[in-house]
Symmetry: D2
Subunit: 341 residues, 4 copies
C-alpha cells in the first residue's frame, strides 16, 4: 500500500533505473571527470537557461543546502529563513555544526517569507558583536506545501541583493512548484534572481541525487574543496549524474511532479468538505495539511502511513508521490471520511 508519509518513501522511477543501467559499462574517471557528468551538467544548464552556471552533484538535500551555503558564508554570518525551513528544523543542526552560522528563523503562516517579514533583520551591520545576515533562504515548494510565484521570488532576491546578501533556494521539491505554477524551473531560479540553488531530485523519483547550482560562477572557486571536505563527493560519480539525465529527459521531472500534485489536489477535494477535517494550508504542490482529531489520527495510522506535523494542534501532513494513484487516494480518502466523523 502506498504511504502518504513522504515522497521519499516512494521507489525509484523505472526510467531512472534504465538510465543508470545504460551507463553502467566501461571504466570512466571517478569524482565527476566523466562524460555522463558532463552531459548531466549540460542538461541542467539548458533546463535552467543559463549556460554559465556551475553545477555540482551531491548525495542528499542537506548536503546540497550546506555546501551551497558555504560558498558565501563565514561563521559570523547568518541565514534568514522561515521557522519551518528544512535547514532550521530537519537537518540535525548541520548549518550550525558545519558552517558555524546562525539561523534567523521567522514565524510564518504558510512557510513563505516576504520582503516585509525579512526587512527588519538586517540590523547592526558592520558590528562584530553580532552575526551578520548575508543569505535569505527559501524553500520551493515550501515545507507547508505552498509555492512562491516568480515575482515573489524576484522581490525577495531584490531585497537580499539590496542588502548585499544572497538568495538561496532549497529546491528539494522545485519540480512540484514549477509543475504547479505551470512555469519552467528557470522561471523560478535563474530568471528570478536566485544565486544558490539546491536542485532536488530524490523526492521526485530519483534514487538519491541532488545538484548544487551556483548562478554566480565566482562562487564556485572554492566549491571543490567545500564538497570534498564535506564528504559529499561521490567516487563513482556517474551514477548520481545519470539520475539527473533521466529526470530532465522528456520532462520526466514534470510528469512525476504533476502526478504527485494532482493526487494531492484530488485528496484534498475528497476530504475538504468533511467538517472533521480542517484543511490548514493551500494545496499548491504535493502535500495536504489538515487538522484531525488526534483519536482519528491514531485510528487512521493503524492502516495508513502519514506524519503528525504538529503535536500541539493535531495538524497532519498527507503527502503524495510520483507513483500515487487515483485508487490510492480514493482508498485513503474513503478511510479518512469513514474514521473522521
Amino acid at each position: 500500500m502506498k504511504s502518504f508519509a513522504s515522497d521519499n518513501y516512494a521507489p525509484v522511477h523505472p526510467l531512472v533505473f534504465e538510465q543508470i543501467s545504460e551507463i553502467n559499462q566501461d571504466h570512466v574517471k571517478a569524482y565527476g571527470a566523466d562524460d555522463v557528468t558532463l552531459n548531466a551538467i549540460e542538461l541542467i544548464r539548458i533546463t535552467l537557461q543559463d549556460s554559465k552556471c556551475e553545477v555540482n552533484f551531491v548525495f542528499n538535500g542537506t548536503g546540497a543546502n550546506i555546501t551551497g551555503l558555504q560558498t558565501v558564508m563565514d561563521s559570523w554570518n547568518s541565514v534568514i529563513c522561515a521557522s519551518t525551513a528544512h535547514i532550521n528544523v530537519d537537518e540535525g543542526g548541520a548549518p550550525e555544526r558545519l558552517l558555524g552560522v546562525k539561523l534567523l528563523d521567522i514565524p510564518t503562516k504558510d512557510g513563505k517569507l516576504t520582503p516585509e517579514l525579512i526587512a527588519p533583520l538586517w540590523i547592526r551591520m558592520g558590528d562584530p558583536h553580532t552575526s551578520q545576515p548575508n543569505v535569505v533562504s527559501i524553500t520551493q515548494s515550501t515545507e507547508m506545501g505552498t509555492v512562491y510565484t516568480p515575482s515573489e521570488i524576484k522581490a525577495l532576491a531584490d531585497i537580499a541583493h539590496k542588502n548585499n546578501s544572497y538568495l538561496h533556494m532549497d529546491g528539494a521539491r522545485i519540480s512540484n512548484a514549477a509543475a504547479s505554477l505551470g512555469v519552467s524551473i528557470a522561471d523560478l531560479t535563474s530568471k528570478a534572481g536566485v544565486d544558490i540553488f539546491s536542485f532536488g531530485g530524490t523526492k521526485n523519483g530519483l534514487m538519491g541525487a541532488e545538484a548544487v547550482v551556483l548562478f554566480k560562477p565566482e562562487l564556485a572557486k572554492k566549491y571543490p574543496w567545500i564538497r570534498k571536505s564535506s564528504m559529499q563527493l561521490a567516487s563513482k560519480h556517474r551514477y548520481l549524474a545519470a539520475q539527473f539525465i533521466s529526470l530532465l529527459t522528456n520532462d520526466l521531472w514534470k510528469q512525476n511532479a504533476s502526478n504527485a500534485n494532482e493526487m494531492a489536489k484530488l485528496l484534498r477535494s475528497k476530504i475538504e468538505n468533511n467538517s472533521k477535517v480542517k484543511i490548514t494550508q493551500l494545496t499548491q504542490s504535493n502535500a495536504v495539511f489538515a487538522i484531525l482529531d488526534p483519536q482519528h489520527t491514531i485510528e487512521l495510522q493503524k492502516k495508513h502511513n502519514f506524519y503528525v506535523w504538529n503535536d500541539n494542534t493535531g495538524e497532519v501532513r498527507l503527502m503524495c508521490s510520483w507513483d500515487t494513484t487515483i485508487e490510492d487516494v480514493e482508498n485513503f480518502a474513503a478511510d479518512i471520511n469513514s474514521v473522521c466523523k
Copy 2:
C-alpha cells in the same frame, strides 16, 4: 565625565589594583597551579556555599559562557534562551561557531524566561533530524536590567532538570542581581539549582576576569581541554585569580554593585516623571531603559555617552557603574530633562 554607556567603560576599582600588586612577586607556576588561584577558588566556593563545585578562570564573559556550555553540549544540542540573551545577539555567533549548537531564542517582554515560555520547546526529543534542547540559559541580571528571584530560578531549574537538561546562568552582572534582591550569590546559584554558572567580575570593577563554576563536578572532567583548546587558559594565571580575591574580600562585589544599582534607581527617579521619557523596564539592577525622541537622543549624545538599544523604537539604555556618583547622575538627569521637553 562618566559614561552611561556601559559598566565596562568604567576603570578598575583601586582595591583590585592593590590586590594584583600585592601578589606581583616571586615566580609561581603558570596556568593556574599556584596558590593565588587556589585561594581564589576557595573564596568562590565559600561565597557559593558549595565546597565541591569546580571553579575555573577565563578571560571574558563570552569565554565563560561558551566553555561552560561546552561541558554538556554536543553540536546537535540546542540552548533555550531569551531573544535578548547576550549569547544570542552579542557574542558574534560564538555559540554556533565554537559549539556548533542551535540557539532556540524566545521573545520576552523583560528579558526573562518562564517555565510557561520554555515548556513547549522540548519536542521531537530522540529524533536525530532535529537539534535536541538540553540547556536553558538565563542571564542574571538580564540584559534588560531585570532580575530573577531565587524561586523563579528554581522553577526554571526544575523544568530543565525534568527534561534532562541543564540550567546555565550567564552571571555577567550577578552581583547587581544579588545586591538588588538582598540575597547572597549562593541563593541565586547553588541553592537555586543552577548547574553551570558564569561568575562575572569585569563589569563590576575588575580589570578582566570571569569564573566558570560547575556545580556538578562530573561536568569538569573535560574542562581543562575545553578551556585550553578554546584559547581561554591564561599563562600568568594568578593575575586573573587575584581579581576575584579582591572582589570577594569585604564584600567589594556588593559595595560596587549596590552603588551602580542605586545610581540607576536615582537616575530613574529623576527622569521618570518627564512625560517625554517613557521608562520601558523595571529598574532592578544598574540600567534604566527608556524611549526617547530620537532627536533628543542625538542632542544628548553630543555631551553624554549612552547606547540606543532599539533603533526602531528609540529605546535607549542608561547604565550605571561601580563608580557612578550622585553628581554624575544629577548632571545627566538635568541634561535629559533639559533636552527632553
Copy 3:
C-alpha cells in the same frame, strides 16, 4: 578499455543492479527504518560473526571514516595513522575540519603501522596543552597494496587498548585483504580487536555504499545524530542497504576481490622481470606499485589510465578491479614491456 587507475573507475557489478532492482517496489519507510536495511544489517552481523555490533550505512568512505571516528573523539584527541593513510592525505582535511582532531602521521615503508612505530606516541597524556591520542587507525588493505595479518591487527589492538585507545580500521578494500589472506572478514575485524570498522563496498563493485560497524555497542548511542548532522543519512536508504545484500550474498565480495587481486598478481608477474620496472611494494591485494622512468610513464599514459603515486620518485600505482580481465592485463603488460626498455 579497462583503466588501471582506480577500482572506483569500474562499473557496478550486474548482481548489485539486480538486487537494487528487486527491492525497487512499494513504499517503505525512509532513513533506514525498512526491512531491506534490517536484512543488510543482519547479513553484516553474520559476516562479522558478531550479533551485537551496530551497523549503519553511509554514502562514501570518507563519510564512514569520519562518522565512525566521531563516536569516540573529542576535538582535543588525536589519531595515530600512517602518513600514507587515506584519512591523512586523501579526504580533503575532513578529519581536521569535521572532528577538529589532530592526525599523528607516521612515515612507514609499506603503509603499515607496527606496535614499535606507534608506542612512543602516547606521551603527555593528561596534559591539556597537547592533543591526546585515543585512536589508532589502520587501512586494510593499505594504500600501498599491503595487508595486515590477523595477528598483526591483534597486536595493534592490544597496544591501543592498553593505552585506553581504540582501533579503527578503514576497510575501503577489506575484501581484497580477506581474499588475499584467505581468511574471513570477521578474522580481520571482530576477532582481531577492531573497535570501529569502515566496511567498504564501493571499490569492490557496488555503486556507492559503505557501512560503519561499531563493535562496542555503547559507541552507537550518539551515532544517529553524528550521521545526520554529518549529512551522511540517506533518505531512500534501502538503495544503500541493498548493495550490501548483494555484496554478501554468495560471496560476491570474495569473487570480486579475488579477481582484482589475481589480476594484480598477474600484472606483476608479467612486468617484474623487466629491468626498467622497479617493483616497490609487495603485491598483496589489487595494486602493483613500481618505479618507472617518467618518460615511459608519459608514453604509457597516452594509451592507458593510471596514476603517478610519487612525482619525486616516479613511482606509479597500477590498480586492478573486479572486472579486470586476463586480456586487459596482458595488453597492458605488453605495452609496459614495449615502452619500458
Copy 4:
C-alpha cells in the same frame, strides 16, 4: 626562589604596573575604541617601521596565533611548521579545532625550518582531495632557544610567497630574538617579509597581552569578526593596550629580553664544561637545553623548578626571565654542578 621552568612563571615588570595604573581613570570606550589603544597601536607601528600595518590586541599567544592564521586560511588549507612548533604541540589542538586546518609538521634539529626542508611540501596543489598548504609558520625565537637571522626569514618568506603562501611568525619571544641578534624587531618582521605576526608580550614581563600584526592590511577586513567570535576581544581593552605601551617605551622590551638572554648565556657558561651536562642546542635566546642524567634531574627538581623537555632522552629546558639575577644563576649552576657529577 626564581624558577627556571618558564618565563611565564615570572611576575609583571613594575613599569608595566605603573603604566596600567596611570591609565586607570575615567570612563573610556570599551572593545578598543579608546585612546590608550590608539597610542599602543601607533607605538607598535613605529617599532615595526610600518605605518600601515593592522594591529589588534588579544589575551594570549594561542589567541594571537589562531586568529592571525584565520585571516588567510580555509579549513582545507594546511600550515607548514616545525614539529616542535607551539601551534603543533602546545596549543591543545586549537588550530585543528578552531581553524579545521592540517599542520604539516617537519622534524628539525634545532626548531628551525629551512627552504630545503619545506620546498617538497607544496604538492598536489589544486587537488581538492588533499589539504593545500598556504602558510609557513615559524617561531622566533624558536621553542629550542635558537633564532632565525633576518636573511633566513627572508628566504622563507620568498619561498612561501613564490608558492602563493603566507609567512606567519609566532613571536612569543620575538624580543629575545631581536635582542640576541642586535637587530630591531622590524628587521625580523616587516623588513623580512613576514605577513602575519604574533607580537608576544606576556613572556617578556607583561601581565598578559599579545598583538596580532597584519602587514598586508587587506587581511584585516574580517579580523574584527574573527577576534570576536574567537572570544579574544577584551571589553576593558585599554588594560591590554597599556601593557604594550610600557613594553615599547624606553626599550623595556630590549632591557627585559637582554637580561633573560644574558642570564641564559651565563648559566650555560657555568655548566657547559661539566661532562655530565650535555648541551644540546645553541643558546641564542633565554633558554639552555641540556641532557642530564634522569637521576640528577630528579635530585635537582627537589630544589629547583624546571621542565624535562624530552622524557626519552633526558633533555631538560632551563629558562631565564626578565628578572633572573646573576645570583639566581650562580646558585642554580652551583647546584647543577654539585649534583651532576
